[in-house]
Amino acid sequence: MKKDILAIFAIVLIIAVIINGTEIQSVEEYYLTHIDDITPESETVTISIRCDAVLDNYDDLDENLRSEEFVPPDGEILPPTEYVLRDGDSVFDILDRAVRHDRIQMEYQGADKNKFGSVYIQGINYLYEFSCGPLSGWLYKVNGQFPNYGCSEYEPKDGDVIEWVYTCDLGKDAGCGWLQGRQGE
């Protein structure tokens, strides 16, 4: 009986995997097929990823992340880099391209899997939400402002400057005010 339940569970798991897709790629193949050539076109945006807040709150950081590998000493994970802006690109698309191009780890929750209906960035370069205290996570700025949109909703314009910053205090340390009000959500 136990074995039957186990077998049924295994069947369900296999079917779930099949439905989700079974495209398996080696690491080289993945990067080969996901690197986009950056051609000099007119429309570009600049994107950078920084985690300065972690350096200020190093004591809160998970012990396993206390290494220069995960938190660069200058807080710069991706220096400001120019990327081609394509039609209909959202901030998330740009980030996705940038991290793939520079082989930076990134994990996100798809738009269909959370209540905001937008992609939620869980972790970049192994720095995950809550990795540095209970109020920590990733935020983004466009031209110095924190847009009140999910990153897959916001479509930047030519010449915009996107900054991804890590906060340890719900955005307060990064200069973002509105997020505290949403704490209850």
Partner: protein, 292 residues
């Protein structure tokens, strides 16, 4: 042969709780390995259960748990390959294996626990302190096998009467419903009867004495003290960070020093205690037999 059965229930309970506590909350790979091996060795030497059939369950379960983790956790610095654009990392695979070891180990310990801690032993432990609860617990524990037995009886009786014995599905379902209805009223009645009977016997009254076959001997005392000392050593070592171990994002290097080695040895001794007791008894038995 079953030396561990002879150990005082309190000592055994303290032991199981300690081992399971460590096994559940400390995820260092060596601890998990010892936990699993200790439980498995105890199972084997006790000759408890049908080993072959059990392997058929535990091995697939082990593999499944080990596989599920990397499917959902994409953290880790060493991608092995990419599944639908998500990395399957070495760290996640290893953590999955450790998780599987932990689950299997805990399951085996639970098995051992139920085999050793029979309901009379449980009642013995809790009867004095919380009689009502212990009664409920023992009844509940008894209830399931009894219910199964009674259900078989009822359905056999129904079939014996020639009701719903055809092979059609509707018939079968109607038969099952009928049996179920009978079972509900029976179980309620049975519970009432039992509690009335217990009450009539003065269960739970003050000054009531109860007989128990168990005695807390010196041996039990030594066993309990040893268990607690080892537990203290393991928890102390854990609190001091001797056996800190991280899986994400990069697996921390196994740091073997005097402290961690002491912790591992302590836990290994702890996990293999029942096994050693059984072996000792078996050797003693053989020795006696050879003397005859």
């Amino acid at each position: 042969m079953k030396a561990f059965d002879e150990i005082d229930p309190v000592a055994a309970a303290v032991y199981f709780v300690s081992v399971m506590l460590v096994g559940m909350f400390i995820s260092a790979p060596m601890i998990q390995l010892f936990s699993l091996l200790g439980a498995a060795a105890f199972c084997l030497i006790g000759g408890r259960g049908e080993i072959k059939s059990d392997l058929g369950f535990y091995i697939p379960m082990f593999i499944m748990i080990a596989l599920i983790n990397p499917l959902f956790s994409h953290n880790g610095v060493t991608p092995l390959f990419f599944l639908n654009g998500n990395p399957v990392t070495l760290e996640a695979v290893i953590y999955g294996i450790v998780l599987a070891v932990m689950m299997t180990g805990i399951l085996l310990w639970c098995r051992n626990f139920t085999k050793v801690m029979t309901s009379d032993k449980l009642l013995y432990i809790m009867g004095r302190a919380v009689p009502a609860l212990s009664l409920t617990v023992s009844m509940a524990l008894r209830f399931v096998p009894m219910f199964k037995r009674q259900m078989k009886k009822v359905s056999a009786a129904q079939k014996g009467m020639g009701l719903y014995s055809s092979k059609s599905y509707t018939d079968r379902i109607r038969g099952a419903l009928r049996v179920f209805a009978a079972m509900v009223s029976w179980s309620l009645e049975n519970a009432m009867e039992t509690s009335c009977a217990m009450k009539a016997r003065g269960y739970g009254l003050k000054g009531r004495t109860n007989f128990a076959i168990f005695r807390f001997t010196l041996r039990d005392c030594i066993f309990t003290v040893t268990t607690l000392l080892l537990l203290a050593a393991v928890i102390g070592g854990y609190a001091l960070g001797y056996i800190d171990f991280y899986y994400y994002p990069r697996i921390s290097a196994a740091d073997i020093n005097a402290g961690s080695a002491a912790v591992y040895v302590s836990f290994a001794v702890m996990a293999f205690l029942p096994f050693m007791i059984e072996v000792k008894e078996a050797l003693k038995w053989k020795y006696f037999v050879s003397k005859i």
